[in-house]
Symmetry: C2
Subunit: 185 residues, 2 copies
């Protein structure tokens, strides 16, 4: 897969990528090793600072890596990567070097040690800011400290998990801008 | 809009509705009044018990109603309700009776006092189980205690917010079931 060109993206606008609910890939690094996990349970929590809440189960090899490094990158894949997204979620970083196995390109991030996945549409560099919900819920609250995104396509064909092995591919655009009050957009 | 027929749905499988990331309508009741808010920031947190985390900003009239009643219903609308979903999000329950204004049908729930919105594809009756993140993040953790859903369509055309007044309508299905390890579905 071709590695797309990215530009810097304002961190307070990264909800554009996460709010529609795509499956994402979380990359991490700890003590010279990297890993990738497939994640479907996340939500935007705030614009500024740019906060994102993520469920990273303690059953995942990435849990310890993120907990110890206190960093990760949330990468937003599109439909061309769908098979890899599933395969990444069906093996463990305890046994597999996922960048190597899945022929993904690790690019150095600007502000965190975890690598960006170059093939993804957007990459959000994250620092852990609140781990209080981690022990009880495996829920991490990150601040997005730097973001990178492709300029096109404007509406990436993200994939959204429906459960039971079925995904929904992002469909048509619906413009309801004229119904919004000014200040609500 | 026709009011669809629903059946009971297993609460530990409600991730099927929320995990793809749709915009939802949160209905609430407190001291004889009801309200509805449009919500885009939510995530599944656990299968069983069936936990969902939701950001309900303190700027919303619903925040106090949910905080005091410790209950709500998460309703999953489809594209036919898109204009109403936006309009509901652009007025306040402090001024408007939203069920009346938007001609939506309030149906009594089984386990909570908040009403179901009959026109929606699925209705998830929720009880607050953890409010510790509410003061800092406006983040409520609910348990889904009862769920109702239409049997068809199997893949509802939910709407997903992209920001700036633009929505994505749920698109085509992608079956990647054969790539999953047994036990991972």
């Amino acid at each position: 897969m071709k590695v797309p060109k990215k530009h810097d993206f304002p961190v307070h606008e990264i909800r554009r990528f996460l709010e529609p609910g795509p499956i994402v890939l979380v990359s991490s690094a700890w003590r010279g090793k990297t890993n990738i996990m497939t994640m479907g349970w996340h939500t935007v929590l705030e614009f500024s600072p740019s906060l994102v809440g993520c469920l990273i189960s303690s059953g995942n090899h990435s849990h310890e890596m993120v907990r110890r490094s206190r960093e990760c990158v949330i990468n937003v894949p599109t439909v061309g990567l769908a098979a890899k997204v599933v395969d990444i979620g069906n093996c463990s970083g305890a046994e597999v070097d996922k960048f190597e196995r899945f022929k993904l390109t690790a690019v150095a991030a600007d502000k965190v040690k975890a690598p960006l996945i170059a093939e993804c549409h957007a990459n959000l560099e994250c620092r852990l800011v609140d781990g209080r919900m981690r022990d009880k819920y495996d829920f991490f609250i990150f601040e997005v400290v730097k973001a990178h995104a492709r300029a096109t396509p404007k509406y990436p064909r993200t994939i959204h998990y429906r459960g039971d092995g079925m995904f929904m591919v992002a469909g048509g655009a619906l413009n309801l801008r004229r119904r919004f009050r000014s200040g609500m957009l």
